[in-house]
Point group: D3
Chain length 232, copies 6
């Protein structure tokens, strides 16, 4: 099985990290096909960053499917262009925010999300609402650190994440925490160990759910809203 | 006052129609600055059409503000890129779907929406939910005619719209109907006359609300979610 | 255009303030027709105050429309009798709470409201829910000062409002603040300057939206729920 | 125990009917104190009828409590002035819509409501939402007959009600039906027999819940929103 | 009238307390039939405790109805097996959580709940949602004391409850507090006196509502979801 | 990996069918451990059937985990005892209703569910709400055939299912259909072929999601609500 994983921003080190996370959990028979956003912002930190990353991402998804990809994972926690991607794709398309939230709704009664910047909080809250998790998500928190600093200042990022996860546990009563940025993926295990909290990385879950849906023989419905774009 | 009205698709006749609707209601002191989407699909009929239209629209909004525009109206009923537009703009940004819905919530207790294609129905339902109108909107209906056919087959479009508005009134108990496509704007008065229903055109309302917000001395909050994009 | 603005309580100085706010933003061609509640409580601070103010208000709206008013603004943040007013009126009827909330949903992703007394908080929360803004309104706050003290102890009121708006910004992450009392209208600009927050006054916005709806050629639907009262 | 039952409209025959229904179920030790609205519309059929009935109702509730009433039932399905009544009353105040809905949520999983006029449907839907029953109430239906005609044309009313209750059962899957008008109270048993459906009359339930709350030693909280009106 | 009150856990002293509370408010003509869970956990503190208590409870309800019970009260705040109980019973079945919440929605605009253990908080929040009270319930709080300790360490329990009720009043703006455990029933009056807050005990309210519904001539609808179990 | 699949009713042929479906999609390295409900009803058709099946199911899950199972699938569409099962289990516990719904939310914008008996409709609607899919699920439909008849009268069941799936597509605009009974599992492929609709079988999806979560290294959070039952 081939699973396409697209990092919609242009930072290749983030693609490599997502690839590593994906390969760490993929089935032996799964080939992970990674890609980095073309003509995209260096990070997705707001609505216009999202918007600028989507057109090339849609083209890349089309190319990946033509090259044999059976499912797609969008490795950015804002799930940019998720509906549009499902429209152009035949296989299942997984957003790491939706996947992380779905896992959290199975593994806990109440969870919180920890993301990077304050400006991302309302956007993620909107996704929580859209994915039907308003009653299950206690709070969307942030560490007030830009996306790219998670890699460049990883020690500080780790400390801030540990503190915020513990606040989620203690103040929110969160029983699990979803990491709110693809760039936090490689910290998951260490954060779990440091806090004792069930920490969920959307990249890992989305890759496994992609395998699960392909393995179930299911593809994106082309009946109406996700029908291929009309030719005009 | 200068109000920028962007038709995010590439069909210039639709821009002209929106301009005409806007000028028909604008205050004497308001200059309407129209624009047509660059590198955009000929019509917005689905999520990927939306996605492809947004990047150039954001650039055009920036240019318009630099040229003096004090408010922006996005003349497409899917409100494509509305959050992103508010991020790059300083003045208020009005979506015609949100504006039409807000007017309908003032003028009636229950309303329906009539759009073009079936595939647009779930997308508009999502907007209804996002704008807080789930309890007020009886139903999102469609006439099953492509956007561009409203102009090219205007007689048929008119007949279908009359029939669907009457169904909204009779079957849904809709007290008002919001037209679910910018391309229906010039039919508004005739539809009102033909059906006796309060028919709301988002283009008209959005232009007037743009004037109202500018006249109130209000601009888009730059405090957090709609702050200008970070420079990276 | 003639816009009727009714202060439903019996305190004439509040009517004068609302008139001044309205005139400060009205179009040159708009005449503001002010009125003070007859046989009404001196302020609206609770559900029975609301109830007692409505019957005369309905009569005054009828009289104003007969005298030529094309739209009505109810200048009390509880939006007392809003549905009933829409029933007796032919033109659009704007509540300052609904108008302030609609503006806040355009200009920000998340906002808070600051009102006077604690007892008004649940009533306003109910309006937030009714207007579809539960997901957008972070919190309804109060300064614990009676309505009439905002005028009589304006220095204290101003200080309390500044402090509460800053708490909304800092604790709630509010990107805009809606003032929750018509009596705060003349403090809006000073509050904006003092806090740097986008502060929204419902009186100003409602007057401009009234102009906008009349300018759009729209009137209250008389189809069902807002049909004129039955003669019995 | 003394229970005050106020018919907020001015039609005395409706008061007598409510009294009869109340006395038919009241405990031996309960005295029902009936009252008819003063200066009120002949029936409550819309928002302004509601508004006009409330001021005198509030005065009558105060008088009744001074005369010894321990609880109040508002015998009109729009629950007019319910919040205001709770503010001026010390004892529990029961609305027949809320009471009927609460009973239906105990006795069935899904219910429908059958009221009089189409214009009342959105108002009652708003109450369903406010009382938290949106997920339980299948549909608010109407027989399109004015309130006063239920008495004057009782044979026709009965036939229409039977037909509508059966539609609720067959088309909505309603497991119970709440009668949406105090004036239908004396038809309840006959409707139950004719349709086999669990038919719930809010007047009866509200009177029994009034007894239940007084018997529980509970009174309206005067802590905040329902505190007695401020003296100004 | 005979009202069956089942304490679904196996601790007889809790049954005796519920019986005492019930008898303290029951009408003179009401006989309270108490029962203790057979083969049930000593207390209900979580989902599996709930599950283990239900099968025998259903059998006991059947037996009680055969012995003449006209209504059933489930005296555990998790309302375990409430839907199933309504399926096997012909008379009304009252859960003390639903009853307490319904009373709180009549007597206040905003209330909080105070339960025993943190693990019960999400379960009760789910019930709040299910009973339509999400907009009315400020917060579900706990005193972090096991159910059985309320009796064995009653002095400590009382102090913790007083403190938590006061926090609900001061931090949540709760106008009433619902006690979130049947085992707190005998503390109700003392808690009311100590805090000045309207404290609602679900056991008391449920018994009175059971009387009210039987007195209204109403029984559980057997039309669909609560039809008696199919014989297979 | 060992995945425990429990059919909570006592009908062994249904267990065999679930086993077959599971084995048809399981990874080569996955061992499916099937079990049939002990002392359970022959089918789960209502709330008391659910309740009676749970206690033994909880014991069987404990035994299965002690025997090495790393995840559990409850193969009944009512998801009976799902919260309780997560409390007693260490590994992830998947309900086929939640799994089917989660898949449908990924593969379509709008879906419907087709179950067996009318009495199951409200119960499944409650699950739809609980899993956050109210905005995505168009309608819960039924074919009015008992669970056990799907096997015994499979030809009739198939025809009824085809007709109902087509109604979901044509009347609801459903883009996918979730089968609302474990007993329909072996008809999935034929139904997909017969209707052209994306038909989702919860058994298949739940097994694959179980593999996915175990493969992600995730287990049920034991932090609060799903902590192991307290020892008393």
């Amino acid at each position: 099985m081939q699973v396409f994983i697209i990092n919609p921003n242009s930072t290749e080190s983030m693609t490599r990290m997502a690839l590593k996370s994906a390969q760490g959990v993929a089935d032996p028979g799964t080939v992970i096909l990674p890609a980095t956003g073309r003509d995209a912002p260096a990070s997705i930190e707001g609505f216009s960053d999202e918007a600028l990353s989507v057109p090339s991402m849609l083209a890349q998804i089309r190319e990946a499917e033509q090259a044999g990809a059976q499912a797609t994972v969008i490795a950015c926690f804002d799930d940019p262009g998720l509906d549009a991607a499902r429209e152009v794709a035949g296989g299942p398309v997984l957003g790491i925010c939706q996947s992380g939230i779905q896992a959290a709704m199975i593994l806990s009664k109440r969870f919180s999300i920890v993301t990077t910047l304050p400006r991302s909080v309302p956007a993620i809250e909107d996704l929580v609402q859209r994915y039907g998790a308003s009653g299950h998500c206690r709070r969307v928190r942030c560490i007030d650190l830009p996306v790219l600093s998670i890699e460049s200042e990883s020690q500080q990022a780790f400390s801030l994440l540990v503190a915020e996860i513990e606040r989620a546990r203690d103040e929110d009563g969160a029983e699990a925490v979803v990491l709110g940025c693809a760039g936090m993926s490689d910290l998951t295990d260490a954060l779990t160990r440091a806090t004792g909290v069930v920490v969920i990385d959307g990249v890992v879950v989305a890759v496994k759910m992609a395998e699960a849906l392909v393995g179930s023989g299911l593809r994106t419905s082309k009946a109406n809203a996700y029908a291929y774009p009309r030719v005009k």
